[in-house]
């Protein structure tokens, strides 16, 4: 399993995933994936002035999924809701040094982000 040689960044985020957890109160929740298929990602956004004030993630999936969801939740904070497409899965794959066949899990993360964003915009 030379493939299980996770990058330092993945290891770090897997061990101490920033922005993990759940937000209470007035939040929107985006979600994607199914546990039965191995990957499920959820983001909670608390909004303020058209921005994501706080973001938290929950993830069921491989270490890359957890690391990516954590990274995205962190990066989402403070962003303008109107800022679309800031997440480039290929760029994130590079950052996390993902093997190519793992791109699929990033798409689930991206879908969950999109779901949260579009729900937020609809409020």
């Amino acid at each position: 399993m030379e493939d299980l040689s996770y990058s330092a960044l993945v290891r770090e985020r897997f061990e101490k995933p920033g922005n993990a957890g759940r937000l209470l109160g007035d939040v929107v929740t985006g979600m994607a994936g199914e546990k039965a298929h191995g990957t499920r990602v959820e983001f909670d956004f608390r909004l303020r002035d058209g921005r994501v004030e706080r973001a938290r993630f929950r993830a069921y999936g491989c270490p890359h999924t957890i690391a990516a969801a954590s990274w995205v939740a962190e990066q989402a904070e403070g962003r303008d809701l109107e800022e679309q497409g800031w997440l480039d899965p290929h760029a994130l794959a590079d950052v996390l040094e993902l093997p190519e066949y793992k791109l699929g899990v990033l798409l689930v993360v991206e879908d969950a982000l999109r779901d949260a964003t579009s729900k937020a915009l609809r409020i």
Binding site: Y6, F14, T39, R58
Partner: protein, 399 residues
């Protein structure tokens, strides 16, 4: 977290060579030792090597209650399984071209059966109940008039469950069907007796029981002679059934390992059963865990557990302070769930979130306690990161 020296709990995959075994192996390697070719009958060093080989053969025979002339050296249980199945099928196909085995066999048996299917043999793959036990009833239903061979493993390497070997053996004897047992996981751990078990062919390996990797044996019932079609030709060693220079240090190591195992089997088996209970008692405290395979009928040191609510790859990575096996074959692109767990009815997701803990000679209570601590901590942590069980997930767990 250091991953330098994880706690080794993968004794079912392989064991270290016992120091006592390593010592006799080293006596048969270098210049000062018994290094000559055991086939070099023209000089004393060669005859000395042959002597050591034959002593080892007696040691292996003794553990199986077989005669030394019924033991054929091979390169491991994989080769033994191949030799048993192909050798019997090719030599005895006049008896019929139907083979009975089970879905939960080792790949060495399953892939060999697939090859035989390609050659025109017909194979019935028995499906065990959710407890994983292959019973004589299952076999009885499958045997036909043209059944040549039944091949059933004694202890399953993934879940540790034992098959009804004696009953199946008696049935095969009554029905005049050859009976092969893959005993790679039971030799040295459970009592074996080829006569009481009515076994005609039995595969064993050294490296599962503190002997070296790369050597095994096949028990072949009966008188000296070409009882099986060989896989490997070239000089007619081993009564024509397996040619090639015998690796003295390897077979001597296997002999010693088998002799030690025989001596220590009873006490060690009790000790390992105790450790296994301790481990399971610790882990089940987590909740949402499933023991795979029958809880009673099992080899002493093996525990296979499915963990709800955690993904398999993350679980394995989180447990990297432990050297354990997972319920999925990690290949680069696909993560195929264990076919054994699936045959027991586990769904893919839960099968992938399964861990095989296998204890052995050097496992201690402290290891087990530390293991329980690590597993508890990490499973809780991962479950904490995961979304709540949705309707979708709940469906998963209702297995």
């Amino acid at each position: 977290m250091s991953t330098k020296n994880p706690i080794y709990m993968d004794y079912a995959a392989t064991t270290p060579v016992d120091d006592r075994v390593a010592r006799v192996m080293c006596e048969c390697m270098t210049r000062e030792g018994v290094f000559a070719n055991p086939a070099s009958s023209s000089h004393q060093p060669g005859r000395d090597a042959r002597g050591r080989v034959e002593t080892a053969r007696r040691q292996v025979a003794e553990l199986l209650n077989a005669s030394p002339t019924e033991i054929v050296w091979t390169s491991g249980a994989t080769e033994s399984d191949n030799l048993a199945l192909k050798g019997a099928a090719h030599r005895h196909s006049a008896r019929g071209r139907h083979i009975v085995t089970s879905r939960t066999e080792h790949k060495a048996v399953l892939d060999t059966c697939k090859q035989l299917e390609q050659e025109g043999f017909e194979v019935t793959y028995l499906v065990p109940g959710s407890d994983g036990v292959i019973t004589a009833e299952l076999v009885a239903e499958a045997i036909r008039d043209d059944t040549l061979l039944v091949s059933i493993m004694h202890v399953n390497n993934e879940i540790g469950v034992t098959a009804d070997i004696e009953d199946i053996g008696r049935l095969c004897r009554e029905r005049h069907v050859l009976f092969h047992v893959d005993a790679a996981q039971s030799a040295g751990k459970l009592p074996l007796d080829v006569d009481a078990m009515c076994v005609d062919l039995m595969s064993v390996s050294a490296h599962k029981i503190y002997g070296p990797k790369g050597v095994g044996a096949l028990y072949v019932r009966g008188q000296v002679g070409n009882r099986l079609e060989p896989l490997i030709h070239g000089g007619g060693h081993e009564w024509g059934m397996r040619s090639g220079t015998l690796a003295t240090h390897q077979v001597v190591g296997m002999g010693e390992a088998f002799a030690i195992a025989q001596q220590e089997m009873d006490t060690e088996s009790r000790r390992l059963t105790g450790l296994r209970h301790r481990l399971w008692d610790g882990i089940r405290g987590l909740g949402g865990v499933w023991l795979n395979g029958c809880p009673e009928r099992r080899a002493a040191g093996l525990l296979n557990v499915s963990f709800e609510g955690v993904e398999g790859e993350s679980l394995l990575f989180a447990l990297r302070e432990l050297a354990v096996s997972s319920g999925s074959a990690c290949t680069s692109a696909s993560r195929e769930a264990s076919y054994v767990l699936r045959a027991l009815g586990r769904d893919d997701q839960l099968a992938q979130s399964s861990i095989r803990f296998s204890l052995g000679r050097y496992s201690t209570e402290a290891d087990v306690d530390q293991c329980v601590e690590i597993v508890t901590r990490e499973v809780n942590r991962l479950r904490g990161l995961a979304p709540e069980a949705t309707a979708d997930a709940a469906r998963d767990w209702a297995v």
